[in-house]
């Protein structure tokens, strides 16, 4: 499955140049497949010490005392850090990315199991861990609140008694859309379809856990932090603000990152403690958390309790949507999301459908669980939104006796309606939803499949066909609407072409496996005609790259990719002037084809981009600055709106509730595909994560607030063995406002696929009257649904 054409239907560059549309092999894989990547845990510095964190065994308790004397006495232990010590330096608390506060090391209470209580710095990682067992903490346990419903109930114990003016466990309240118009539409509806469901708490669980090596030079005050960060520039600014360190003395380096998925967007206590320890001790300090620490304490995702309703008229047209969310935020409100939007971009919940009214109410509650609410491979709660609307739409079709595909077709936003203004304020840039859906249905042979389903039912076999026709919103900002802690969501690219025609591209974003070193080189190759293999892409070092907000929410290609195209074009215009100088022609008389300028009408009179680069340093035009480099800061005019249709076919074992995916078809439209192979890889990864969410993956808690799902035997990450085989295809509807017509694609499949899998199982049971099973669709839940439906 490869793309061979861009929007114009042909490739602009030959394979030697490898511009847009070529499945260039990933440059970064040379080192990765040789095991020669360089991750935070690979960093070794002279005199480096090791840190381990003591975490709370209980979910909610007052700390009466902490006795560190035995730990401190253990040979090899250099220091034991507690909240009290951090408080002396005003570092016991830090801001979250949602403007709340979070404890770095607990001083008053612990508020979730796994919370940071103390840290040991030792000469050896084993010693640091041995010493954890020698710290004795006296806890006075408090009742644990393990659900947002419990948190909001009258008389619930107050979790955030540290916050002035906080009288209850409400973390935020937010709404979007027009309530009156929506209520009126509901009053006039012929039919109302509703769904109540929970999108369970999950965890991005990157294979590399979080960690840092903090290296503070006591003499110069230079602070270098090697850190698992998806957003090194933003993190540097946060460090400057939190610790009051001069920003020019802080250098954050994100070396190779072993997966992020949103988990490496927040600033974690461990980074702060390691840095404070290095500052106090004057030696480098390494902290790398364990798998369990990553799962129980770092940014979780989802955990939305959702109610949704659709108002329909008698012809099956949607009139309005109403949803109400109660989110479980854990002990600290730490969603990573744009400031204005307290429920992220959940209000994109109107989906791919055209109707005039919608109203969204979202409330979040503090609970005694780990904080987070990170955008796990999604653009700020778009996954929850897409899940809600695609489940609702499928149920609506059953309830009015229409085929789910035809119901969607009837209600889709039509191609001629773009740019489309949604009732909650989004402006969808481009789309052709029905074409993508028909393509997916064609691949699976939908009509034949429905017949087969009917025949199977007659034999007592349960086959289900589910679909999702999702629309995403990715690539924040524009800076008018989108910022993180006030930092506007632009991004940047700095390009320098060296005398021999080789180039270095520096970006403010940071790959965690997405293939930036290849994709962004291809954009330069497309625009400047320099072979992609001659372009080095550098990211992740705040001293050596231009400012940017980082990589998450599918924003790198929409924002940094656009910046890359723009700076390449700027340099091409300068190159044109140099070429004119070399060819002794007027710049206006030159034509461009990738890699060379030639005099209009006489192609034999030409210079290559490499000739031009050399001349930029050896023979520049008299009226031009020497050199060939520049930087571009790109503030996107709008988000991009990738879409597609996923179709899943399952068979359910009626006796046990087990279910199997027989087919999974994904037709994606992300606009112009820069590297089709990498796009396919991104989609397959997301489809796998969607499969995980639908089948198995969740983090749950017992009544005491103990985390169930604290290792990979309990928190299940699918491997190639159990993952279905994916059948991929595409349509191409370019983004009209993006310089190369591309939309983000890193998350489409995580966002769109969970509903498709779940809808397939529901479809298998729909004739029994089943309309909901909460994710994950564990066999016992499916079995119970069948039992309850059949009595």
């Amino acid at each position: 499955m490869t793309t061979t054409a861009d929007q114009v239907g042909h490739l602009h560059t030959p394979p030697e140049i490898g511009g847009i549309g070529h499945s260039v092999r990933r440059h970064e894989d040379d080192r990765f497949i040789q095991g020669a990547g360089n991750y935070v845990d690979d960093i070794e510095l002279p005199g480096m010490l090791h840190m381990a964190i003591l975490r709370s065994p209980v979910a909610h308790a007052k700390i009466l005392s902490i006795d560190t004397s035995e730990a401190t006495a253990l040979e090899g232990v250099v220091a034991v850090v507690t909240g009290e010590l951090m408080a002396e330096h005003n570092l016991a608390w830090m801001p979250t990315l949602s403007g709340d506060t979070q404890a770095v090391l607990a001083t008053d209470k612990v508020r979730f199991q796994g919370q940071e209580v103390a840290a040991v710095i030792a000469t050896h990682p084993y010693i640091a861990r041995d010493a954890l067992g020698l710290i004795f903490v006296d806890y006075e346990e408090l009742p644990a609140i393990t659900s947002p419903q419990q948190a909001m109930a009258d008389g619930a114990v107050l979790i955030r008694d540290d916050k002035e003016g906080q009288a209850d466990n409400l973390a935020y309240e937010w709404e979007s859309g027009d309530k009156d118009v929506t209520d009126r539409a509901f009053a006039e509806a012929d039919k109302i379809v509703s769904l109540e469901t929970h999108y369970p708490r999950s965890h991005p669980s990157p294979l590399e856990t979080c960690g840092a090596v903090a290296d503070v030079d006591p003499a110069s005050g230079q602070v270098t932090i090697y850190m698992t960060s998806q957003a090194p520039h933003a993190h540097r600014t946060v460090f400057a603000l939190v610790a009051g360190l001069p920003e020019q003395n802080i250098r954050i380096i994100s070396p190779d990152i072993g997966g992020g998925f949103g988990n490496k967007v927040p600033v974690y206590p461990g980074y702060v403690i390691a840095t404070a320890a290095s500052l106090l001790i004057g030696k480098p300090v390494k902290w790398v958390e364990s798998r369990t620490e990553n799962l129980i304490s770092t940014g979780f995702a989802r955990d939305y309790h959702m109610k949704g309703e659709l108002a329909l008229n008698s012809e099956g047209r949607i009139l309005a949507l109403r949803t109400e969310i109660l989110s479980d935020q854990g002990a600290f409100f730490a969603d990573a999301q744009p400031t204005k939007f307290k429920a992220g971009l959940f209000h994109i919940v109107t989906g791919s459908y055209d109707y005039p009214a919608a109203h969204v109410v979202a409330r979040g509650a503090y609970t005694n669980k780990a904080p987070g609410g990170v955008a796990y491979r999604c653009s700020f709660r778009v996954t929850e939104a897409s899940y809600m609307i695609e489940r609702l739409v499928q149920n609506a079709a059953y309830d009015i006796g229409m085929d789910p595909a035809e119901f969607r077709a009837l209600n889709f936003i039509k191609p001629e309606q773009f740019p489309y203004h949604s009732p909650t304020g989004f402006v969808y840039d481009s789309g052709d939803y029905e074409t993508a859906m028909r393509k997916a249905l064609g691949i699976v042979d939908y009509e034949a499949l429905r017949k087969e389903q009917a025949e199977a039912r007659a034999e007592g076999r349960l086959i289900g066909i589910g679909m999702a026709s999702f629309t995403e919103v990715v690539g924040a900002g524009n800076s008018k609407d989108y910022d993180i802690l006030g930092l506007k969501m632009f991004d940047s690219a700095e390009l320098r072409v060296h005398p021999t025609g080789k180039a270095i591209l520096k970006l403010g974003v940071k790959s965690q496996g997405q293939g930036h070193e290849t994709t962004f080189a291809q954009i330069v190759a497309e625009e400047l005609g320099i072979p992609a293999g001659d372009i080095k892409v550098l990211e992740g070092d705040t001293d050596n790259t231009p400012y940017g907000l980082g990589t998450y929410a599918s924003r790198s290609t929409p924002v940094a990719g656009a910046a890359t195209a723009m700076i390449s074009r700027t340099l091409r215009e300068k190159a044109r002037k140099i070429a004119a100088h070399l060819l002794e022609a007027s710049a206006d008389d030159l034509d461009w084809e990738p890699g060379k300028f030639f005099v209009k009408g006489s192609p034999e009179q030409s210079v290559t981009i490499q000739d031009v680069a050399f001349a930029a340093y050896t023979n520049p035009p008299p009226d031009e600055q020497p050199g060939l480099e520049g930087v571009h800061y790109y503030d996107p005019p709008n988000m991009t709106y990738p879409f597609g249709t996923y179709v899943v076919v399952v068979e359910v074992d009626a006796e046990t509730g087990e279910w199997n995916v027989d087919r999974m078809i994904a037709v994606d439209d992300c606009g112009v595909r820069i590297n089709p192979m990498i796009v396919d890889g991104q989609i397959m990864g997301g489809l796998t994560e969607g499969f995980a969410a639908a089948t198995n993956q969740f983090i749950t808690f017992d009544d005491e607030g103990n985390c169930i799902g604290s290792n990979f035997m309990d928190y299940l990450v699918p491997t190639a063995w159990e993952t279905p085989r994916f059948e991929l295809d595409e349509t191409v509807t370019p983004s009209p406002h993006h310089p190369i017509g591309a939309k983000g694609v890193g998350e489409s499949a995580t966002v769109g696929s969970p509903a498709a899998y779940v809808n397939a199982v529901i479809d298998a049971l729909a004739h029994l009257g089943v309309r909901n099973i909460d994710m994950p669709l564990l066999p016992d839940r499916v079995w119970s649904a069948i039992q309850n439906a059949t009595g």
Binding site: T292, N696, M713, L716, P718, T719, E722, P779
Partner: protein
């Protein structure tokens, strides 16, 4: 993750292994495939003071056809069972179960005897061994003794070895008549322990009636458990759908599953019943296929 400190040696003979165990006493543990012990140490759930690694001992990786049984040595890995033709032709339940154990990486390293010794109620081998009525050969500096599997499995994570004893081999009886077996396992993903597992074994008499039956369950009791009443349902009877259903229900009654993150008690019982029936169907088909 970092285990606490421990001492270690890797003797090359069984005698040395036994002598070291005797010398190091209570805190010493045998290290076989390490696929259960090492994870427990990493999580600091186990902290042995001394590990006696048996992997360098020669001659413990045998699968031998002995009179009436197949002997499986202490260093036979799960994957050796996957590949063994001798097992393939003598015990269908073992052949069935082997590829369900963990994943290929763990199977290359983990041992059958280590798994049996470990007595994890979610481990698969002990159910198969119960269904087959296997015997464990225990050896110590003092000598050898043969322990029926029912007596070997004491409780969860508890076997009946005496201090200083190791499992030298396990003996799996061969069918005496036309036999067959199956292992049916419900797992959440590859490499997962069983949510429910059922081992079944049947032997048919010349009259086509069931002469011997073995049924045992994984992960639904505090240890791998024989469904004795279900076996009783079968012995002496002519196989039928009805009979197998009855056996399934009897097995479900003998199970004591807990509601947990994998599913409810009620559902697990149902799965035991269905899986027992399905396993017996497979076992019967295999037995009938033999001349």
């Amino acid at each position: 993750m970092y285990p606490p400190a421990f001492n270690y040696s890797a003797p090359t003979s069984v005698e040395e292994v036994l002598a070291t165990l005797a010398k190091e006493g209570e805190g010493a543990r045998v290290l076989a495939g390490g696929q259960s012990l090492i994870p427990m140490m990493k999580l600091r759930l186990a902290s042995p003071s001394y590990l006696v690694d048996i992997n360098d001992v020669d001659g413990l990786d045998y699968i031998t056809d002995v009179n009436g049984h197949v002997a499986i040595g202490a260093l036979v890995r799960h994957n050796d069972i996957v590949k063994s033709e001798l097992i393939g032709s003598t015990n269908h339940a073992m052949t069935d179960a082997a590829p369900w154990i963990a994943d290929p990486i763990v199977r290359n390293r983990g041992t059958v005897c280590g798994s049996i010794a470990h007595c994890d109620p979610e481990g698969d081998w002990n159910s198969v061994m119960l269904a087959a009525r296997a015997e464990v050969v225990a050896q110590s500096a003092a000598g050898e003794r043969v322990i029926p599997i029912d007596d070997f499995i004491v409780d969860f994570f508890t076997n009946s070895l005496e201090p200083g004893e190791i499992v030298k081999e396990v003996r799996v009886p061969k069918y005496t008549g036309r036999g067959g077996g199956a292992y049916v396992k419900l797992e959440r993903k590859i490499g997962d322990y069983a949510t429910v597992g059922v081992a079944t074994q049947l032997e048919l008499g010349d009259d086509g009636k069931i002469a011997k039956a073995g049924i045992a369950m994984t992960a639904v009791n505090s240890k791998n458990t024989r469904a004795a009443a279900a076996e009783q349902v079968l012995v002496g009877e002519t196989p039928s759908d009805e009979l197998f259903r009855e056996a399934g229900n009897a097995a479900a009654q003998a199970s004591e599953p807990e509601t947990n993150v994998r599913g409810t008690e009620e559902w697990k019982r149902e799965v035991v019943s269905v899986y027992t029936r399905r396993g017996l169907e497979t076992a019967l088909a295999q037995a009938q296929a033999q001349a």
